[in-house]
Every structure is written in structure tokens, then in C-alpha cells.
Amino acid sequence: MRTDYDIIVVGAGPAGSMTAKHAARKGARVLMIEKRQEIGAPLRCAEGVNRRGLEKAGVPVDRRWVSTDISGAKLVSPGGHVFRIDESQAGNEVGMVLERHLFDKAMAADAARAGAEIWLKTAAVDVIKEGERVVGVKARREGEPLRLTAGCVVAADGFESQVARWAGIDTSLKAGDITTCFQYRMTNLRTEPDYCEFIIGSVAPGGYIWIFPKGDDTANVGIGVLASKLEKPGEVKRYLDDWIRKDERLSCGQPLEALAGGVSVSPPVERSVMDGLILVGDSARIIDPITGGGIANGLLAGMHAGNVLGDCAQAKDFSEEAMMPYDKLWRDAMEDRLWRNWMAKEKFLTLSDSTLDAVIETLSTANVDKMSVHNILIAIKERHPELVREFEELI
């Protein structure tokens, strides 16, 4: 059994698989380890992604992992005002609901076809350092302790983001930058089969309730609540159960699957590379702080990381300096937007239910021809300038 590689990717989510694929494609010897026994399961996602996100990361759509095509989105205020955005307005921003059990496996299969090795039931439990440089990971493979060495370790371990922290990069979050989630896949619903719905306000403090269709009368019905708004243990699930009981379209449904998870709604990490270590995906805190979506950003960061690592492997140089092009690539692609949306999120938190009602009402009657955070802010400014005053610089 080989224990030395150019690159060891920890975590076989979308970000890890993309990194592994692109690095292997350039000839690097890549091992991807995954602590679970099945890639893509259990699910921790609402599975919404936009077409442009896939396109940018060079992932062609394969119908086998698409669950449902989406025609638009509905934003629902606490008082029941509805802002509908249909596909023509949303352009490529709306997209599809995936079958992530299959999507994640397809991404990993691409990595395998490019030459990467995959080990399941293999967990990293620490990093190995020589001085300030990361030279591998301590792992457990089916319970057996193991030392794996590599030119570079890829922290693709998702929200848990432990690998980076073991290595000394602080990815810890403040409570106001964490959303905790609970979701059911429900069936026998009376919701719209091709619209994604977002319900905001005090029904989900600091977050939202989502209904993402999964074909016919089935949907992912979930909630995210900001951790700083939580008072009692178990509240997140309770908030969702309360809502389902009250919403007639949902209360007739039954669950097929339940899941939970954490989402960062923070600015991105300050440091994404160090000697022998690179951060991709959720571990680098690159989830969009407004939508909570991280699939597209994870894929794109993974693509850039893999390409840079492939070059590093050829040059046999995995120093921080050699890997810095990756840091620049992902920052150029998404950093501004992440910061802007983080600021928008901070503002969103201060809005009362009555303000949210006023805003959604405005939007539902205004003519927003192309859906974007920018256009929405402009529409609000026309009728409620006081609400966007602190946001002026974003417009």
C-alpha cells in the first residue's frame, strides 16, 4: 500500500473531487480520502444550484444527477407578500435542484477517471508538520492508524474545517456567522413543483425556510437559523416543525429523509494556502452569506486549486509562494461578492418583520427585470431610501 503522494485531498465533496480531478489530470499522484462509507451520503444539502455556477467550473450538466429544473423563485415575507422571480428575470441565476447523492459520486468518478485514488472510511485525524510546513496527515483507515505523507494536503473537509485548524490556520467562526440547519425531504405536498421558495422573517431568525422541489409532490423543506439567534437547544428543528404544522401545503406531507448541518455565512478565510496545505470549498468559508449556497463556489475553487496543484506537482514545489496563484484565482472570482453579500446579510439581520413585509411588497410591485442583489437594492431605494442608506456604497 502506497502511503506517499504528491497530493492528499481530505474530503470527497464537490470541492475535493474537483481538486483531485484537475490535479490528477496534470499528472500529479493524487489520493482522496473520505471518512464516510459512501460519497454523497448522508446528504447535508438542499441541493439548489444555478446553471452559471456549473458552467463556470466547467461541469457539463448530466441529466442523471439533475432532480428538477426550476422555473423561478418565490420570496415570501412574514406577512405573506410574495415576490416572484421567473427564469427570464433570473437569467442563469436560477437553475436546478440536484440529486447530490449522485452528483457527488459523479464528481468523484471524474477524479478517478483522471487518475486519482479514492479511499473510503479513511479519516484524517491530524496533520503532520515539519516545522511550519505540512507534510501529511495522520489518518485512520477502517480504524487502523496510518501516516500518509504528501507534498500538499488539501483541506476539503467541508463545514467542519478541522484540517486547516490542525495546521494552524484559524477558520473558526463567530456565532453570528454560522447558520444551523434542519431539513426534511417531504412528499405528498401541495407546493409548486418548479419554484424554489424562500420564507423569511422571525419564522427563521437570521435565516430562512426553504422549499426546493424534488419532482412532482416532493421537495426539500428546510430551515437555517443564525446561531447567534438561538437560545435553547433543539430550537432549529422546532422552528421548522412549527412552520410545517402551520403551512397547509406542507402539513399534509410526510417525511422521507431528515438531515441537519452547519453553514458558514461569514467572510472568506484570510489565508487559503500555507507551505504544504491548501483550503478549498466550505473549509475556506466561501459559502455565499446571503443564499447559503456553496456548491458552485466549491466547484470553482476546486478547479483552480487542482490546476495550480498540478503545476506545483510538476515543479515539485508546494511552498506557499508556489501555490499563491490559487489564492489569487479564487479571490478574483468571488471574494468581492462574498464580502458584499456578507455585509448585506448583516443588514438583513437588523430588519424587522414589518420592514421585510414592506420590502417584499415593494419588490412584488416594482419592475425588477433582472434579479440580482444590486437590482433589488435599487428597487428598494426608490420607495424606501431609508432602508438602503447604509448600503449606498454597494449600489
Partner: protein
């Protein structure tokens, strides 16, 4: 820390939220190490209320 294993969803929310990086999720088993300073964040954050601090009601 007391984990109610019948409630726990193995979701890792407590792991990624712990400021001390003191929680480890080994597929389905949670391990807490000595770096835990009993700040209580994980207890509050757990979406299903599966965690309880030892010595607290």
C-alpha cells in the same frame, strides 16, 4: 459532554462551530477532547438538541 445518540444526526454542525476545534465526528460517533472549555456553543447550536453539558441540568 453528553451526546444523546438517538437524537444526533451526525451532521457536524457542532464540529465546525466549536471555537476550540475540540469536537471530532468519526463518521457517526462524536468525540470531545480536553481542549473543550465548556463554552456551551455546541449545545445551543445543535439543531436537534442532542448535546448536554455534564453537570448541568
Amino acid at each position: 459532554m453528553i451526546v444523546n445518540i438517538e437524537k444526533c444526526m451526525h451532521c457536524g454542525a457542532c464540529v465546525g462551530s466549536c471555537p476550540q476545534n475540540a469536537v471530532y465526528l468519526n463518521e457517526i460517533v462524536l468525540e470531545f477532547n480536553e481542549d473543550c472549555n465548556r463554552c456551551g456553543r455546541c449545545v445551543r447550536i445543535c439543531p436537534v438538541g442532542a448535546l448536554k453539558m455534564e453537570g448541568k441540568r
